[in-house]
């Protein structure tokens, strides 16, 4: 019995572990090309990511926007609305926060609250626009959100460069003025970069888990994710679910931008989120963890670790930073096969009852990879 329980707990982890092992093997080949020893490079990466308090807290700081974007993606994708607009939503979120915090009138607390609320609204509305286009014009969510990523990037760049540009310093960056100290998120430890945004991310993980697993709305959205026709047949409005989930997903992704502005840069810097590709890494985290909020949290920290570790070895060896993208792309590629295995297992669950999730990962019937 205990053996079964352990297997049930470990079964969902088996394939991600396998995928990570494969991806590390591909990464090792890439490292060999550079003429370095993969084992020492990986050891250095691990040390650079989690080796001491400084590295660990840097990784967690980097993981913060990834976790938040990952939750935003998980919410939309788990209800089967596969938008890829996290980047654009994060951009408008960060931009709105910075502009409102800088220029809104009133006392500090009011400006802080207003800047966060407006960012949530901006991200949510951008996502709603895609939802509306899908609803009214049957436009592919993937395409509209992708296009809005670029549109958001250039439109905000226009406003930063031509209206809100920071002209005080000699920096060549397209960025806004610095936000005053009273509005900045406090640091959690003196002298380390980790800030309040991380705690917000942890709070969001719990809230998302609660929403998806313990509320009617979460149940309805999961229904819509399983089978949209069945969901409408059962009296759940799939339209309501779509608008609700996409609004929420956009608002959460926008919060990632807010957290970066108020917690790290203290201003909006053009191209910052795009070059760090927080939203894409967050989406990858959501995919790897199968849209499970706690899984998103852990996976984001691992992926952030690959990035900070990658940056550490890029400083000390000849291995370029992009080794982290290679490893990450391979993980999701290898895991994509699992997503189908998972849904197949789920469909057998419906027949056998919920406990059969303990079924072994590879079904002998599925070994040939044929559709049933």
């Amino acid at each position: 019995m205990a053996d079964r329980r352990i297997r049930r707990l470990l079964a969902p982890l088996a394939q991600p572990a396998l995928a990570i092992a494969f991806a590390l093997a591909v990464g090792a080949m890439a490292i060999l090309v550079t003429g370095e020893n993969p084992l020492t490079v990986y050891a250095a990466m691990l040390k650079g990511a989690f080796g001491n308090k400084y590295y660990l807290l840097t990784t967690l700081t980097r993981a913060t926007p990834i976790i938040i974007c990952g939750l935003g993606a998980a919410i939309a994708w788990s209800s089967n609305y596969m938008g890829i607009g996290g980047e654009g939503q994060m951009i408008v979120g960060g931009f709105t926060t910075a502009v409102v915090a800088l220029y809104a009138p009133g006392p500090l607390w009011f400006r802080l609250v207003l800047s966060i609320v407006m960012a949530l609204l901006a991200g949510g509305l951008l996502s709603l626009l895609s939802a509306w286009l899908l609803d009214k014009f049957k436009m592919s969510l993937a395409i509209s959100t992708l296009m809005f990523n670029y549109t958001a990037q250039y439109v905000t760049m226009h406003f930063v460069a031509n209206v809100f540009q920071d002209t005080t310093g000699d920096a060549k960056l397209t960025q806004t003025l610095r936000i005053e100290e009273g509005l900045q998120f406090p640091r959690l430890f003196d002298g380390y970069s980790l800030h309040l945004g991380f705690l917000i991310a942890v709070g969001l993980v719990v809230a998302t888990w609660f929403l998806l697993n313990r509320t009617t709305f979460g149940y309805e959205s999961r229904m819509s994710g399983f089978n949209i026709n069945f969901c409408d047949y059962g009296g759940i409005s799939s339209r309501k679910v779509m608008y609700g989930m996409l609004l929420l997903s956009g608002a959460i992704s926008a919060l990632a931008g807010t957290s970066e502005v108020l917690g790290v840069q203290y201003r909006y810097v053009h191209n910052n989120y795009v070059s760090a590709s927080y939203a894409w890494v967050g989406l990858n985290a959501a995919l790897i963890s199968g849209y499970n909020p706690i899984g998103v949290f852990l996976t984001s920290i691992i992926l952030a670790g690959i990035q900070t570790g990658g940056a550490a070895i890029a400083r000390s060896t000849t291995v370029p930073l992009e080794i982290s993208s290679i490893i990450q792309g391979c993980i999701t590629l290898f895991i994509s096969a699992r997503i189908v295995l998972g849904s197949r297992r789920r469909s057998s669950v419906a027949v056998k009852g919920p406990l059969s999730t303990a079924a072994p990962v590879v079904d002998s019937a599925d070994e040939k990879g044929r559709p049933r």
């Binding site: 993937a142 992708l146 990858n284």
Partner: protein, 306 residues
């Protein structure tokens, strides 16, 4: 800015040069649509083609080998994507996103290893695609402006669209291919190897995307820059949809996006904000798709009420 005939000719010329890379990828995307594959990895396949061409170009100095190497590289990446999508039943969006992340990382990684440069790579050793000689048009200078500095690869894009049109709608093989997209189980029941056709289509879409990438890195300018495709693969997907997954329709929709991009470039030297014009191709994609779908839906409604 003065809108004389010469200016319009320049716009026309730049529209063609902006259109053809998109057209290649859009044709690939249209074919994928025809076999029910949503291939978001075209962006990565385009990027790898452009990169492979520059690498081969640098080491061999041969145009033929550059194009060949680009085709092989992008076909290989497409084959991996196709196998994961069709054989391993990976979610298409997930496979595509992974391919894009992987290729974007791998090309930047290799650029640093091979060329030792981070952002962009240019070299005097690189040869560019030869331009079509338009001196026979010298009697009409405006024609020279309109069709000047184009490569044979630009021209081939149009030829390819026509060939694909004939293939899809006039041959048995094309009919089989379309049947997979309309109803895969039904096609399989008639003995059509649907999986094989789907994978082959993805591989072919990779091949043409690679050619689009070659045009980007060896057409107008000869260089490679980190993520030089800048979302053109995504725009091409929209063009494929907008063209009704029909090769000739795709020419028109690609030309629309090419025009938006060339306008963005032309307006950069004017008082119009250059950042806003850069957003133009992407925003107009959404508008055009909304309009297209609106018209389509109304047509369906009207034929239903008749």
């Amino acid at each position: 800015m003065n809108f004389d005939a010469n200016y319009l000719a320049v716009v026309f010329n730049s529209t063609i040069r902006m259109t053809t890379p998109i057209l290649y990828v859009a044709l690939g995307s249209a074919l994928c649509n025809r076999v029910f594959i949503f291939n978001i990895g075209l962006e990565g396949m385009m990027l790898v083609g452009g990169f492979a061409a520059i690498v081969a170009n640098f080491y061999t100095g041969s145009l033929v080998l550059s194009v060949f190497f680009a085709m092989v590289a992008s076909m290989f990446v497409a084959w991996v994507a196709g196998v994961f999508m069709v054989k391993f039943k990976g979610a298409m969006l997930v496979v595509g996103v992974s391919i894009n992340v992987l290729i974007s990382g791998a090309t930047t990684f290799l650029m640093q290893i091979i060329f030792g440069s981070k952002g962009a790579f240019v070299s005097t050793k690189l040869v560019s695609l030869p331009k079509i000689d338009v001196s026979f048009m010298r009697a009409v200078p405006i024609m020279q402006t309109m069709f000047g500095s184009l490569t044979y690869l630009d021209l081939f894009a149009l030829v390819l669209a026509i060939i694909l049109h004939i293939f899809l709608f006039k041959t048995v093989a094309g009919f089989r291919m379309r049947s997979v997209g309309i109803n895969k189980p039904a096609a399989e029941s008639l003995g059509i190897h649907a999986d094989r056709i789907q994978i082959l289509t993805v591989v072919f879409s990779g091949l043409v995307s690679g050619l689009g990438g070659v045009l980007l890195t060896m057409g107008g300018v000869t260089m490679f820059a980190q993520n030089i495709t800048a979302g053109r693969g995504f725009i091409a997907m929209a063009a494929g949809t907008l063209g009704g997954a029909h090769p000739l329709g795709v020419i028109a929709s690609s030309a629309f996006f090419g025009f938006a991009q060339s306008m963005a470039n032309m307006l950069q030297n004017t008082s119009v904000s250059s950042q806003l014009t850069m957003a133009l191709p992407y925003a107009s994609t959404v508008l055009a798709l909304a309009l297209y779908n609106y018209v389509q839906n109304r047509r369906i409604l009207r034929s239903a009420t008749k």
